[in-house]
């Protein structure tokens, strides 16, 4: 469902994403790992059609991100790093706006809201303005926004950042459940999370893919915890 070929993007002299290629199929939950500034977010922003790549191509559900970005945006749900929203709106009116923009109307809208609001546990803040919400709630609103059109592809940039342990657990469950019939990419620093939810992991550093494997295979190969695997890979390759 996602096919990325030789994707490249630089900001001035800094090469953020340097020639990465991978494919993700339906039913896969791909964990994007890497140190800060590795290019995870930049790669994700290119996949969702927000940033245009300098070179290479990416297709999502058969649509090219450069030539047909609107079709790509229609089949993707995206939660950005800082869960952006409009602070002056209430949660309800914000979700209504997203429904408007995604052409979810009438009965469909009602059922979409009935599905998404309990899943993200935002019933209690539904009539509150987003600006007054805590970080965790804001992220849940962002997640609701990404799920509202029941997309085939989900791209979540640090989805559990700022959530309390219970919420984290619920989001993990949610991802595991959805992972069966969707194609999900999540980026994270939390390696336990990768073990729990991902059935594949890509480690990238300085814009390049270092490892593309499953968390289990990595642990067996290096015979240590995922934390140590991560440290070994990202530090040795850097000094080399």
């Amino acid at each position: 469902m996602i096919s990325v070929k030789h994707l490249r993007r630089s900001f001035g002299p800094i090469v953020a994403v340097d020639d990465i290629s991978f494919e993700v199929a339906k039913g896969e939950v791909l964990g994007f790992l890497g140190p800060n500034g590795a290019g995870k977010s930049t790669a994700m922003k290119m996949l969702v059609g927000f940033l245009s790549p300098d070179g290479g191509s990416a297709t999502i559900c058969g649509h090219d991100v450069v030539s047909d970005p609107v079709a790509v945006k229609r089949c993707i749900g995206y939660l950005a790093e800082n869960a952006p929203a409009y602070p002056e709106m209430t949660v309800g009116s914000f979700l209504d706006f997203v429904c408007d923009a995604r052409q979810i109307k009438g009965q469909n809208r009602k059922s979409a809201l009935d599905r998404v609001v309990p899943v993200c546990s935002i019933e209690s803040v539904y009539h509150q303005t987003i600006g007054t919400l805590s970080k965790g709630y804001r992220r849940r609103v962002g997640l609701a926004q990404a799920l509202i059109h029941d997309p085939e592809v989900l791209v979540l940039d640090e989805p559990t950042d700022g959530l309390d342990p219970n919420q984290k657990h619920e989001v993990h469950d949610l991802i595991c459940r959805m992972g069966k019939d969707k194609c999900i990419i999540i980026s994270t620093h939390i390696l336990d999370e990768v073990e729990v939810v991902c059935n594949r992991s890509i480690i990238i550093a300085r814009g390049k893919i270092l490892v593309d494997s499953t968390p289990q295979a990595l642990k067996e190969k290096y015979k240590c915890s995922l934390d140590e695997v991560f440290r070994k890979i990202t530090t040795t390759k850097k000094s080399a």
């Binding site: 602070p87 408007d100 923009a101």
Partner: protein, 243 residues
């Protein structure tokens, strides 16, 4: 198209969900009324709206960049642009929707000046056509200023910077048409330069609409101005949305 309408609706509602709209309306209505009566509305002893319209360009130079400055600078600063542009809308649609919402808001502000024409009608028997063309001209001019403002808002991430740049650009376009400026340029570049500079400025086109004549060249001036700056805005935004 649905994306465009959704963004338009959200934007327009957004003005009234924050103090922006109310502060703007109060200040705008106060000064548009104050300047009208201060500039000798009663002393002219004529039932027309010339004193009201004559002050609008100057008022717009400051007021419109203040509405336009937040259009894109705020979205970029808070990161909500990343949400907006990952919804199924194109950059151009988003730019047009936001511009249209702001223009609509300015239309509401102009509409709320209705006590001025009512006063004029109460005091005498004004030429209604002149009032209508005056409002059309003002609305078009507001659109022109707004397009310039939205361009600078996309250019600078900082709202203050975008405000100052927009005021400067609008100011240049208004003052280029003032007689004193034209005389000055005539002294440097010769009298041949006067019609060129005059036709580039807001003032001359606005004045001719105020006379009650809606000419093709004046409408074309405003339309080209609006389309041009909006187009530039969407190009610059496409380039800079991520940085």
């Amino acid at each position: 198209m649905t994306g465009l309408m959704a963004v338009f609706k959200r934007e327009l509602k957004g003005y009234f969900a924050t103090p922006v709209a109310y502060v703007f309306l109060v200040i705008f209505l106060f000064f548009s009324g104050y300047l009208t009566f201060k500039e000798g509305f009663f002393e002219f002893r004529q039932a027309d709206m010339r004193p009201f319209f004559a002050n609008l360009p100057l008022l717009f130079v400051f007021m419109i960049p203040s509405t336009a400055m937040r259009l894109w600078a705020e979205e970029r600063k808070t990161g909500s642009i990343e949400l907006l542009l990952t919804l199924p809308v194109t950059v151009t649609q988003a730019v047009i929707a936001k511009f249209a919402a702001a223009w609509c808001f300015l239309g509401i502000a102009l509409f709320l000046t209705f006590p001025v024409p009512m006063t004029v009608c109460y005091l005498g028997d004004p030429d209604k056509g002149l009032i209508v063309t005056g409002y059309i001209g003002s609305f078009l001019m507001a659109g022109g200023f707004l397009a310039i403002g939205s361009f600078f808002s996309a250019l600078a991430k900082n709202q203050v910077v975008s405000f100052i740049l927009a005021v400067a650009a609008c100011g240049v376009l208004v003052y280029a048409g003032m007689p004193s400026t034209l005389n000055y340029f005539a002294g440097i570049f010769g009298p041949g330069s006067v019609p060129v500079i005059e036709s580039l400025s807001f003032q001359s086109h606005f004045d001719s609409v105020l006379k009650g004549v809606i000419e093709f060249k004046d409408i074309a001036y405003f339309v080209i101005l609006i389309v041009g700056w909006i187009w530039a805005c969407s190009i610059i935004l496409d380039e800079r949305k991520a940085s």
